[in-house]
Symmetry: C2
Subunit: 409 residues, 2 copies
């Protein structure tokens, strides 16, 4: 079954707005057995909304509108849809009353412009909006279904989940998009693809998508599954790619790297403290994204200056002078220093050159060292990381976390 999404609103035709509703809608429509084959963003223009709908009626089984249901003169979805379908648009007294009650319960008198939100297209089913004033509508027109949803994401999501999804699932006849996800770090997008492609190409029914973000590659495998069908080929493929990529795969369950490492720390009853130079707090911030991370994360130091490395991690001035702040020696000294300062089982450090300034021929921009130690071991790792300042910093936190993961294994 084919679905199409039409987002209405002139603000979404500016350089500042992405239509994120359609990502949520696509995900949920896939679950209900619908492939999204077209998305349109149209401004607050009745003629243009009508034109897009006319085309959509010829090519889609389900049409989802978002936005344009507000109370102002710019909110034209209702009128445009009624016009194309040749149906009347009229105020429904019970909705008008409900709107008045909603305003009154908040101590306001309903402005008269809001009356427009009680307008209903002839023979449409009302989709209740528990989070806002704009009711949605569900319309059947020959073999096509049309849903009108409000633009604000909270309202749209809630209305979709409770009232559109059940209707769409019945139409979708139990078909669904089954998915498997692999999270990978320490490889580039093309390295991942060159390893994975020979495998996934022998599963032509599976769609494979590779998404790259700094320090982190996500592989998404999906295919349409009939009711009652068990997609064992998807599991096979995920396992085969997992074997090929080896240790670089850090999760097949959706867990983020900081969650994987946090679980390993929890399970082994160990704690960690961090010393960060160029990342200046990004590693601590990332580790503590996980609720409950206080069980294993004690804290850290942001030793952005040489003075801070000396004062907070007791790094010797000789070391800083002879080897420089960005060196394996200082990385090791920072890890040992922060471990001692905070009394953690493990010390983890980062020192590097994020750019755009500060690079030299010997020590180029992107050069980073990670230090790791516990009571018995002390290790350090070097990498030259490409990208701009923020990309280098993000990739470096992934690099540090993945070395901690290895250390804990």
């Amino acid at each position: 079954m084919k679905a199409e999404i039409i987002a209405v609103g002139s603000e979404m035709l500016t350089p500042d707005h992405v239509d994120t509703n359609s990502l949520f809608l696509t995900d949920r429509l896939n679950d209900a057995g619908f492939r999204v084959h077209l998305k349109t963003v149209v401004g607050d223009d009745e003629g243009e909304i009508a034109e897009v709908l006319q085309a959509a009626l010829q090519r889609s089984d389900l049409i989802i509108f978002s936005g344009g249901l507000g109370p102002t003169e710019d909110d034209l979805t209702r009128a445009a849809v009624a016009g194309v379908l040749g149906r009347k648009l009229s105020i429904r007294q019970d909705l008008l009353e409900a709107l008045r009650v909603r305003f009154a319960s908040r101590g306001y008198r309903m402005p008269s412009i809001n009356e427009r939100q009680a307008q209903v297209i002839e023979e449409a089913e009302i989709l209740e909006n528990s989070l806002g004033t704009a009711p949605g509508m569900w319309i059947e027109q020959k073999n096509v279904r049309i849903a009108l949803l409000p633009g604000p994401p909270r309202e749209l999501r809630s209305m979709f989940e409770s009232q559109v999804l059940p209707r769409a699932s019945r139409l979708g006849k139990g078909l669904r998009l089954a998915k498997r996800v692999l999270h990978v770090t320490g490889m580039t997008e093309s390295e991942v693809d060159s390893q994975a492609a020979p495998i996934y190409k022998s599963y032509p029914g599976v769609q494979t998508i590779i998404l790259a973000s700094p320090g982190h590659i996500t592989l998404k495998l999906s295919r349409w599954v009939e009711p009652g069908e068990n997609p064992t080929d998807l599991d096979e493929l995920a396992q085969a790619i997992g074997r090929a990529l080896g240790r670089a795969v850090f999760s097949t369950t959706g867990e983020q790297l900081e969650e994987v490492v946090g679980r390993m720390l929890s399970e082994s009853g160990r704690s960690v403290a961090v010393a960060e130079s160029c990342t200046a707090g990004m590693l601590g911030m990332r580790i503590t994204r996980v609720p409950g991370s206080s069980r294993y994360f004690l804290g850290g130091v942001v030793c952005y200056s040489n003075d801070a490395k000396r004062k907070l991690c007791d790094v010797s001035p000789d070391l800083l002078r002879d080897d420089g702040a960005v060196s394996p020696q200082v990385a090791t000294a920072l890890a040992q220093g922060v471990r001692k300062a905070l009394g953690s089982s493990i010390g983890l450090s980062i020192t590097g050159i994020a750019g755009p300034g500060g690079g030299t021929e010997q020590k180029p921009i992107g050069l980073v060292f990670v230090g790791l130690c516990d009571e018995g071991r002390s290790e350090h790792f070097k990498r030259i990381i490409p990208g701009d300042r923020e990309t280098v910093r993000e990739r470096t936190t992934y690099f540090a976390l993945s070395k901690l993961r290895d250390f804990l294994s």
Copy 2:
């Protein structure tokens, strides 16, 4: 003049991909005098691409395609456009040769599927691609112009800037979208709007957009300006709104809050060190987003545990026991402690409850304290910040930076 953007690629109809190219294109098209009135995302389907183009030819002066110019069977933009326009598609020998040279220069033999990228639509002008293998095209069809651009953002941007923008600007006849931007912190979106709306409503020719992100509101004012016209009304409006919002406006030049604070620190020759509990490094990370921040940022401590507050900032165990880690007393002690530990002019601290656990009736989730001190003054500030864990943390760093800004004023 009306422009329309058509993004081609089935991957953009999945829940993982936003068409970000269109944001860049919209911004630059606005500068060239074009209003973007419609955006479509269509899959790798020749019939559907053709259908969207047919509709676009009826309603737009300029049509920008992105994507679908690759070498595979899924890359159908060239064929679909040629089909609709009734023009031939044929291999151009000079392009084929250039592609072969490009591959050879990297030590590869060109795969035969890449020959397809030398196909040119009859009478199209070639747009050279210095960053990839897919050339673009510029086509005139009666009064409509069509640009075919590659999907990868780097290639698209470079080709657009160098070869499409000059052509579009000539068509746009010097019209442009003039803009003014105000950055605001410490107010909610609705507070900003209730102050600004009575003012901007008296400038009906100006489009006002309010964008909210955690801790930070952006107000964008824009209107179309004729060649040679000076939009003094935009300046007037920006100044009037600026006066109404007062200190909450931290920038009218595009500077981020950390840049504003960094400039103030630099100019006054002062340095800062930070102590972070619930934000666990996010404040340090944000301050050091600014290249050159090492001039005024010495470092900090991430005192996630009570033990860390004691060890790194010398907070007394009595204070932690009697007042609790989330208290004005501990915020002050942390600011003083980190200032002393690092020898900075100013100490800045954050302690709070980011959630989802840890809240009590007396100290609810979202309660945060910011401490600030220098050699003479010591201050603390309290706020209860709504939102989920990450939102509370982001808003708290804005809150801390804006208090630092006040402190420096």
